[in-house]
Amino acid sequence: MNENLNNDLNNVDDVDIGAMMVPESGMPAVGQKKEDILLDVKGLKTFFHTDNGTVRAVNDVDFYVRKGETLGLVGESGCGKSISSMSITRIVETPPGKYEGGEITFDGKTLLRINENERYLLPEKDMRSIRGNDISFIFQEPMTSLNPVFKISKQISEPMMLHRGMTKKEAHEESIRLLDLVRIPNPERIVDEYPFSLSGGMRQRVMIAMALACEPKLLIADEPTTALDVTVQAQVLELMNDLKSRINASIIFITHDLGVIAEMCDRVVVMYAGKVVESSPIEELFESPQHPYTQGLIASKPDMATTEKRLHVIPGNVPDLTELPGGCPFHPRCYKVTERCKQEYPPTHKITDEHIVSCWEYNGSGISSEGGEEA
């Protein structure tokens, strides 16, 4: 891939500051640094100011992604998982959205730093050289995220011509190679088709091919298989796992489906109402979930092995983000609620190096899942 061009682009507008590190030109790989953390998000706040009040979609969220790792972001609709990932590449529509705080570091570069004294956003021009190049997106709706009036070849070629400086002809040939890589039959023919003539699974493969076009360091997959049938989902997941080991990218996998999380991810971040409630390596999360919400979420989904007569239930509804309950936002639905939960947001406890939970009920030895009521 065309390292020099990227670095040139990055260097052009280096307006800022000591803290911002620019990868040195000509270095073969950035992966050799002492830190193996590719993306670090700290205290991120993204709010939406609407006529009906302020929606705290992402409210003080911390997470990180290592090189070559797959991180799962899981939660129900409106928990802020998509907005968190969109904030990384700054594709949240502003206004009504606004980045209100936090710090995002990607591959040694500061993308965003907002606190009381400072409001630094990496200039838009530099962001553009990152989007679709170092960080690429796969969206949920393969039907609507491809442009219906352009041929497949043009859509895959565009980022390669832009970021990798390819000619039209080179990009066309590379498109065919990528379609072949994502196992589309007859890529020479498909490349000249329009999106409407492809099925949902094929379109999602085209999206993946586009996302891979510039060999990104980080791939953000936002519900990539939710709109697909299970059999097609299995194909796409297998493909993503295969490609990940081939290009050694990190993946942020956003989904509400814990089954898919179990299948794909190394680590999981569980979000609820704009907050991270628990974060853990995958095995630990399924074996000993700590936060009552995580426990409920795992218990309420019928497993293929479930034999019980009734499902576990988390009572109540997903809260409205404009009128969040005080204290811990989960308290109206929590079976372990105490007075303190209603007043103050709980601190974050470290259970093991990688496993953290935000709950008042954690006492150093874990939160028992006993007493989970069947509503």
Binding site: E76, S199, V232, A234, H256, E263, F286, M304, V313, V318
Partner: protein, 328 residues
């Protein structure tokens, strides 16, 4: 199966014409449902699974005569639904209801809950006047987990899960015996989904309801169903009790479908033997010859390409449409 069946579907077919040209000449048919046969016992749940476009929803709607069937029989409690006179059909309408997938578009935004739920009661003269209607509505929405004061609110004031409760209340308003749940929980969040599934189960126990539960989510179908049918491009390729289908699937498509469902055990990652099918589902407008699964089947033989396999009862109550069922 025995005589307790509330509904018998025999060789049901639904073809949609494909029209082209200025005079809208019919040039072909989308064979959405192509000759399926099954029974649903009274008080039981039949799950219908399959990929999108396989004809599950069309089956449900054709059974209720929301779509006109092309051929076949639907016997509801001894009466042939498809040949019924209009006036008699209207009477029968109260005995069968449907719950749709999307609770956002299936409720009239301009009516309050009491009218949404109560309209059919007045229409079918189940209640004599509006006053009693309101009382009855409050009773029914209470059963579905809503509060009496919510009867005066409008759909936009409810969340997705609550709206689905309203849809269920509307279906229950006319005291039906049979409800088609067409992807009724698919659009809901996980924590809300389990609430609605439990509600459906409770109502079944309480009121002796019979369900046709259409879903693409295998774990939900496994949880709620007594019998399960697997559809593929308009054919019911396998049909039997839930335990037989899930523990001992015979049709290669059922096997592939079950293996594709993600497991919850992160330790099983990469270890499970997943059958990943190549290619896409064929179009029902131009289905493959012979067995419709032959283009993707790992066990395909020449006969599969030529002859449509018969629907054979391999064990009592376990039907499979496959030439090689015995040897698999």
């Amino acid at each position: 199966m025995s005589d307790t069946a509330l509904i018998r579907v025999k060789e049901l077919k639904k073809y949609f014409p494909i029209q082209a040209g200025v005079v809208r000449k019919t040039v072909g048919h989308v064979k959405a449902v192509d000759g399926i046969t099954f029974n649903i016992e009274r008080g039981k749940t039949m799950g219908l699974v399959g990929e999108s476009g396989c004809g599950k929803s069309t089956t449900g709607r054709t059974m209720l005569r929301l779509l006109k069937a092309t051929d076949g029989e639907v016997i509801f409690d001894g009466n042939d639904m498809l040949k019924m006179e209009k006036s008699k059909l209207r009477e029968f309408r109260t005995r069968m209801q449907i719950i749709f997938q999307d609770p956002y578009s299936s409720l009239n935004p301009r009516l309050p809950v009491k009218d949404i739920v109560g309209e059919a009661m007045l229409q079918h003269k189940i209640v004599p006047n509006k006053k009693e209607m309101k009382e009855r509505v409050i009773e029914i929405i209470g059963k579905c987990g809503l509060f009496p004061e919510q009867a005066l609110r409008y759909p936009h004031q409810f969340s997705g899960g609550q709206r689905q409760r309203i849809c269920i209340a509307r279906a229950l308003a006319v005291n039906p015996e049979f409800i088609v749940c067409d992807e009724a929980v698919s659009a809901l969040d996980v924590s809300i989904q389990s609430q609605i599934i439990n509600l459906l189960k409770d109502l079944q126990d309480e009121m002796g309801l019979t369900y046709l539960f259409i879903s693409h989510d295998l774990s939900v179908v496994k949880f709620i169903s007594d019998d399960v049918g697997v559809m593929y491009v308009g054919h019911l390729v396998e049909y039997g009790s839930r335990d037989k289908i899930f523990a001992n699937p015979i049709h290669p498509y059922t096997k592939a479908l079950l293996s594709a469902a993600p497991s919850f055990d992160p330790k099983a990652k990469g270890k499970s033997k997943r059958i990943v099918m190549e290619g896409d589902v064929p179009s029902p407008a131009n289905p493959p010859s012979g067995c419709r699964f032959h283009t993707r089947c790992p066990h395909v033989e020449p006969i599969c390409k030529e002859t449509v396999p018969e629907n054979r009862e391999l064990e009592p109550g376990h039907f499979v449409m496959c030439h090689k069922a015995e040897s698999l």
